[in-house]
Subunit: 201 residues, 4 copies
DNA sequence: AATGAATGAGTCTTCATTCAT
DNA sequence: AATGAATGAAGACTCATTCAT
């Protein structure tokens, strides 16, 4: 009994320290591009030593991936929360997603990074695939609930792709404020939701 | 007269050397992620010295940007070629774009890079904006020709976004061959073209 | 108690390693102009890695400055030692200073460098100013002790300037040996001490 | 006859171009430390090609040296001009020299550079020695004219050294304006002239 | 004599990772 | 388990000088 408790306690401590590291990283990502964040910076921000970071993650990439996976899980969770009360419209879902991306550009940057470029360990690859599948499940569910009968999976892919693509024009909207960008991207989201709902342009 | 000829010749030589450097870079991008390509590698591949690279570009970023701009110009040109013969359908245009992206993943990676993260000189920013606008013009034209009457500009944005988003799921299709990926992404392109043409899902 | 001891030990180790680096630099300066000494050379001479150098100094300039400050502190200390036994004559002080400069040309080169050209961080500038002020204090004290009643501070400036100026003719005494140069510069020092003591020429 | 005229003309053209280069260098030195001025910058400023620079000077060092020698010759000339009208006092001479140094810091920086550090070709060394000797002659003459009977040469050395030393505290007078520095250095010059004239402190 | 593109050795500096304590 | 100093390979970029035109 005691032993088990001890183990639990240890695990909890471990988890909380891991959370501290993750949060430190997130705080830095809010300030600068995640690709330019160094281990030293994270360790300083988290108030732990560099060695400790490597005690929790085999390398920086895995730490970054963990941040990404956490975000993805968060989105999935939020999708579920939204749906649990009342079936949302496709538009609401799309708006929610783009809104999240506006608030968490790092998530999008990381998705681009890991999807396009990054060498990932098999284990990491699997975790990545899994969480992306979960995300896709939610989108498919939403599509089904708005009456998309056929090809729902591939349509989910297409919709997810379409939404993700919106953010590519994010930063480079010359001379726009964050608020304007948000409005613009939300408008694009609404439009995409529209066409996927079969609305005439 | 002779003097003018000489100037022209010099410019041509300069252009051809610049092309050599650009091509060398492209060859490397086919093998490895552009972000990990070094000046030394490019100079070696091009058969010129490191110094020469800096004789043509103030820094690596500008070289990369030039590669990107060239690609973008190429796409724009191809759009024009396609349209010059016979008005293409939206589907054909989308398929063409995604096909191009399949063959030139670096273009997409660079677009992500420059659009999301990259610090660019004002001059570079302007060039980037301009070429993107040109690209958008072609897409808008295509939309107009298929009967999109209202909001054609914003719809172009949305369509372009949607297409770009497709590639984000490119590399991470676990265990798929290039050919399968091409098929999958083209299918998504077709679907997106469909919804933007007002086809019911 | 133990913890404090540990901290002390660490600091001592750190100091000793810093000393190793500094000494390595000094050995190199004996052989070649300090401006042409590279980080690699210092690291090799010190038997540590390049990275370690940067672990102790943010950049080469600060390392050089530290060498300079150490020398300046050494001179100040020596001034104090000389004065502690018996009030020295102005001539003795001047001779001592020039003798030191003969043995440590790098000190003079660095003084020229930092005083005239070098971009220094605010922090570095402050340290530089401080040590120079200390040096000046000693000279002023000596002047006071030989009966310089008025304008002692500005006179100290003038004397210090005059002594420093001597070394500018050091290296370029064509075809002279070190010993001859030493004799010549010491003679100049004596002469300057003389005129500052009110001796008729 | 004609041939001689042609040669003369050629020489004049050569000289004038050389002057253009020298002046360009000087303009740059007014803006930045001469050690950080590049051949490219000089060629651009002079409106000639890099190759042309090397047509007039075997290397950058010799160009710098030429700038220095020109300045030194200018000072010598000015000394002569001053003396030609009426025998100046030692104080006037010292003030003049320090005033010149205030206006031409680069001269002083170069003197430090060449006297202390620089590797010079035998030819360059000789030219340097010669011009310095000329300068010293003027100072000795002045000393003689104010009644310095014995050791006039070595005293000239000492005086020249003393004056040069003044400028070492130039730039690093924290928070002082150019005007304040000028006043301060001139005051030091006057003081040194005083002690060398046998004035009691 | 003038040109200026090409050269490439050499510079400082960064930073993920290791490992002895 | 936590620490953080040490590591050193690797990077981008500079710039005096050459030389074919």
């Amino acid at each position: 009994m005691t032993k088990k408790k001890l183990e639990e306690l240890k695990q909890m401590e471990r988890d909380s320290r891991r959370k501290i590291i993750l949060d430190a990283a997130l705080e830095l990502f809010a300030v600068k591009d995640f690709r330019s964040v160094t281990v030293r910076e994270i360790s300083r921000q988290a108030g732990v030593s560099i060695g400790t970071i490597y005690n929790y993650y085999p390398n920086l990439t895995e730490l970054f991936l963990d941040v990404f996976l956490d975000s993805a899980a968060e989105i999935t969770q939020m999708f579920d929360n939204i749906s649990s009360k009342k079936t949302p419209t496709l538009e609401q879902l799309c708006e929610f997603y783009i809104s999240y991306l506006n608030d968490n550009m790092t998530f999008y940057q990381m998705m681009s990074h890991f999807m396009l470029g990054g060498e990932l360990s098999p284990d990491a690859t699997q975790k990545l695939d899994e969480i992306m599948r979960e995300l896709m499940n939610r989108i498919e569910t939403a599509l089904l609930s708005v009456g998309c009968k056929t090809n729902s999976r591939i349509t989910a892919h297409a919709l997810f792709s379409a939404l993700n693509g919106i953010m590519i024009s994010y930063a480079r909207y010359p001379g726009k404020t964050d608020e304007e960008i948000r409005r613009h991207t939300l408008r694009l989201a609404k439009m995409i939701a529209g066409v996927f709902s079969g609305k005439k342009l």
